[in-house]
Amino acid sequence: MLDRDQVLHVARLARLELTDDEVDRMATELSKVLDHIEAIRELDLDGVSPTSHVIDIVNVLRADQPTPSLPRETILAAAPEPLNDGFGVPSPGAA
């Protein structure tokens, strides 16, 4: 069902650098799971509306009132690379 190229494509989308072994294993395992799942595509679901939520509520809205923010030192304490009072990352523009 899923070949290596598809696995690699999905892994790129998901930002996972899989090992070679994992790519093969993933192709086998996911294919097996998808085979099982395929069954639902045989159901007659014409005219059935999708459920993304079981709860039937609408308009859960918040008043436009400020609430306290977190102190900068608190949020930066967890940062792998604090930089200039912010969160350092490899520059997306770097070669």
């Binding site: 939520h53 809205l61 918040r62 400020p66 306290p68 900068r72 520059s91 523009g93 770097a94």
Partner: protein
């Protein structure tokens, strides 16, 4: 096919992002901020901490509905939020909460450009780049400031109804004025609260099939929008003329060089994997919400105002649009018009009054608000009325206006003080001066007598000089022709 003689028609659609001026962010209670120290307006939600959840800001929905109503859109009875998945450091959850297939507003139009859709979403964080230039290319490290992250955004997508760069610029100004008047945004392009991307394609004039389009980004001023689109139209024309094809791509406009550079193709391979945001429930535009939005709409929107200026007041179409799109000019004009009416106005036509706005803005700076100048609308109305009543010549009135700009005051008093009142044939011996002019230049007089009206110039000029511009040009011409006719 020979392309040498093909005329191309540009087809342009705009995508505009507008930061809403709510107090707090789209999905959390952090305050909006501009130019505050980095990372002081964050919380678990806008920082994408594990376990945090979004809750929709009701004021953002209110503003969204107001915009939809102002643009004549259909407001969706029930709209949804989706997750748009992509990895980038400015996106803390690695998905943006945005509206996808069921946006808040659909259809509508602004002026003669149709609106495709209007939807709500959240803004990204700000990515800063280390290094001297502060720009992304050549920088090794970047750092993220999440203050802006989660600011409510409205995305307005037009239909591809725009046919020139200048029309795009003008329409964008109309949109800005409209949004400003709604009070929903600062709409400041230099601050990024109004951002514009353009989809540009060209096609042989007279055909209806759309050409391959490119997307232009980062045009952060009205002038750059026009410049960028113009440059892209020219680029596409050159490509087609050379027998090459336009490639669908995203181009980055460099305001310094005016050039367009393609964004790296790797960034382009997007598969956003949209799906309904399970952390939020649908938004239902209730009668109450619609009524509240309607109640907050201004009595008249710029597009309607332009139509009224043109149709009811008889202003020139360009003037009507200018006054409507730059609301401060329209407001000033309408106050002057009211003052002129209150003073009898001497039959002053609105169009005649409108002609005095341009001379005023020339004197105070073209972007300045005349209401902040020393010239009151009443004063300008009085001056225009004096000209209409021939109490002061047009040229003298311009001099008076210059004085009003520098010192303020009543035009009548200035005219009196400076002795700039109009000279009329009956009272002030204008006829005698005309006689002298004819005597001083018999050649010209002879030509005029022979029917060459171009020769009248030097005679009029003589009179103007003699009267220091206080005589009315039309009156002088009439007197000369009376004598030489």
């Amino acid at each position: 096919m020979s392309t040498g003689t093909v005329q191309y028609e540009p087809v342009i659609g705009l995508e505009i992002h507008v930061q809403l001026s709510t107090r707090t962010k789209m999905f959390c209670g952090c305050e909006l901020s501009f130019s505050d120290p980095p990372n002081i307006h964050t919380c678990p939600t806008c920082l994408g901490l594990p376990g945090a959840l979004p809750v929709v800001n009701e004021q953002a929905i209110h503003f969204g509905i107001m915009i939809g109503l102002a643009l004549g859109c259909d407001i969706a009875e029930r709209s949804l939020f989706h997750r748009k998945n992509y990895f980038y450091p400015d996106s803390p959850k690695a998905y943006q909460i945005s509206q996808y297939d069921v946006p808040l507003c659909l259809g509508g139009h602004l002026g003669d450009v149709r609106i495709h859709r209007v939807h709500l979403e959240e803004d990204a964080a700000k990515l800063n780049h280390l290094g001297a230039s502060g720009r992304i290319h050549g920088s090794d490290r970047s750092w993220v400031d999440f203050n802006r992250c989660g600011t409510p955004l409205v995305e307005i997508v037009s239909e591809p109804d725009i046919r020139s760069a200048e029309q795009a610029r003008e329409w964008l100004i109309l949109l800005r004025t409209t949004l400003r008047q709604l009070g929903v945004s600062d709409v400041d392009m230099s601050q990024g609260s109004l951002r514009c991307d353009a989809n540009v394609s060209i096609r042989p004039a007279g055909t209806t099939e759309l050409g391959t389009k490119t997307e232009l980004k980062n045009m952060n001023s009205f002038a750059f929008v026009a410049k960028g689109i113009e440059a892209e139209i020219e680029r596409q024309k050159r490509l087609l003329a050379a027998g090459e094809a336009v490639v669908q791509e995203t181009l980055h406009f460099d305001p310094i060089t005016g050039s367009l550079t393609p964004l790296r193709s790797k960034e382009e391979a997007h598969d956003y994997r949209y799906f309904p945001e399970p952390d939020l429930v649908p938004v239902l535009a209730t009668e109450g919400m619609l009524a509240a939005a309607r109640a907050d709409l201004p009595a008249e929107l710029p597009a309607e105002r332009a139509a009224r200026f043109e149709r009811e007041l008889g202003l020139h179409a360009d003037t009507a649009r200018l006054f409507a799109f730059r609301a401060e000019l329209g407001d000033y004009f309408e106050r002057a018009l009211a003052a002129a009416g209150a003073n009898g106005g001497a039959g002053l036509e609105p169009a005649e009054l409108s002609n005095w706005i341009a001379p005023l803005t020339e004197r105070i700076g073209s972007d300045a608000d005349p209401a902040r100048s020393k010239v009151t609308p009443e004063g300008l109305a009085a001056l225009a009325t004096m000209v209409k009543a021939r109490e002061v010549s047009r040229d003298a009135a311009r001099e008076v206006l210059t004085l009003m700009v520098s010192e303020g005051g009543d035009p009548r008093a200035i005219v009196e003080r400076e002795g700039l009142g109009a000279i009329s044939a009956e009272d002030d011996g204008l006829g005698e001066i005309v006689d002298r002019a004819i005597a001083a230049d018999p050649d010209a007089a002879e030509k005029v007598r022979a029917g060459n009206m171009k020769a009248i110039g030097p005679l009029v000029g003589y009179v103007m000089r003699e009267t220091k511009g206080r005589a009315d040009g039309g009156e002088i011409t009439r007197l000369i022709r009376e004598r030489l006719g």
